[in-house]
Symmetry: C2
Subunit: 255 residues, 2 copies
Amino acid sequence: MRVFAVANQKGGVGKTTTTVNISAPLAFAGRRCLLVDMDPHGSLSNYFGFAPESVGSSTYQLFLNEAPDPKDLIVETAIDKLDLMPASPALATLDRQLSVKEGKGLVVVDALAQLNKKYAYVFIDCPPVLGVLMVNALAACERLIIPVQCEFLAIKGLMQMVRTLAMVNHARGSDLPFTIIPTMFDSTLKTAVESYATLKDSYPYNLWDKTIPFDPSFREASERGMPLTLLNPRAAGAIAYHQLLTSLLRITYEY
Amino acid sequence: MRVFAVANQKGGVGKTTTTVNISAPLAFAGRRCLLVDMDPHGSLSNYFGFAPESVGSSTYQLFLNEAPDPKDLIVETAIDKLDLMPASPALATLDRQLSVKEGKGLVVVDALAQLNKKYAYVFIDCPPVLGVLMVNALAACERLIIPVQCEFLAIKGLMQMVRTLAMVNHARGSDLPFTIIPTMFDSTLKTAVESYATLKDSYPYNLWDKTIPFDPSFREASERGMPLTLLNPRAAGAIAYHQLLTSLLRITYEY
Ligand SMILES: Nc1ncnc2c1ncn2[C@@H]1O[C@H](COP(=O)(O)OP(=O)(O)OP(=O)(O)O)[C@@H](O)[C@H]1O
Ligand SMILES: Nc1ncnc2c1ncn2[C@@H]1O[C@H](COP(=O)(O)OP(=O)(O)OP(=O)(O)O)[C@@H](O)[C@H]1O
Ligand SMILES: [Mg+2]
Ligand SMILES: [Mg+2]
């Protein structure tokens, strides 16, 4: 079972869109995939028609002292072989409930260990904030995917995400590999081209060699609850995510 | 002193951009304004050149048991009469440190009371997550500004923000007025036009009567650390924020 987390403390950079569009082609190709929504705002759950405020069971329950079997928290999406553990707004209360002493940093690791035989791939969508939810996702994944917009503030904010990673690596005692993905790239904008050049200079070993273009059809896809990579595989954004998936699989299996 | 908070649990909808571009014209017109950065990721602080990871003092210190004088946490920006209380990454630890019993929901209210004579306007930029930081901002403001993108997931997510507000109103014992601002609006996209129509139907009394258009010059402005409303007042996005400010002042002073 290969586990990826998608995270960035900057909001609105394409975390949920990335999660949806790299998992869907794998499910379409017959691989069993699990999506884990760790964002209390639940965009990933909403995407597939599960309103966070009205889901019965959610990732929140993993953190209870008497946690249920993780299999019982999973629902099927409309896409064959693509299952989801939905989020609920209660996730936002976990930081306050869990003081650092309780060592609740490995809850997701333990839950996924129980699902090891059931899924080939797991993708964890994170909220745009550092806390117990993101820490759990970073502890559970083998590679972190960091979507980032090619603009000044997002790139400045990336430094914080990389520092957070350094903190987590220190606690883990090993280095978590990460891949930075330029998203919503509009090559006609001078600021985007300049920011992209800055990214290449600053993170030469962790930056994916292509970009995800700005493509309005992502919005149409989310309205229909369908991943763009399945709805319209020839759309520019869908082609780019297929290429990203190929790169990620190559890195995962070659090393 | 008039206090506004800018919040939405959805990330990347234009919270920081809105905070910058409605405060700058007021400072330019000679009114003393304070920006309070409550986002641990610190986009607002980065915008004005104060890197959150290296600021000396920040809004975090307000929450310490021996809190310093709020005046000592304020820095001047490059814009005359526009001051800033910067954020630091430590803000992300507050939820874990403060259990709900400690009643730390009025820290910002108390701090702003001490600044009452110094500033005419205060704008609080919030992180994209519900927690002690957002609760403090909602308690301290007289009106909440909710930027939202005109797309399916953002509008679905708005329901959660409005439910959060209902919870806070219950605790406050009074209704916090709020204004929803459609941001990054691209009238050539069918999904945007449809989503905008949904917004009008769902929130007829709280939706601003105009939209902030998608305008790439916001990115250039953030790269220069200058509010677009000052850098290029004739840009489409700047004109829209001037109009928004006029509407907000009218609502504030007429009622
Ligand atoms: N490549 C792209 N081109 C155009 N629009 C995009 C692209 N990627 C994402 N979007 C749109 O941008 C918005 C934000 O994307 P998304 O919700 O995936 O970001 P996020 O990082 O998950 O946000 P949050 O911080 O709230 O979790 C959505 O409306 C989405 O449809
Ligand atoms: N009207 C607009 N037109 C085009 N781009 C915009 C507009 N408003 C904001 N942006 C850009 O969109 C990105 C996100 O905006 P911003 O950082 O203000 O959102 P936010 O809600 O504060 O994000 P976060 O959830 O991370 O705090 C920035 O790159 C900004 O320059
Ligand atoms: Mg998301
Ligand atoms: Mg912001």
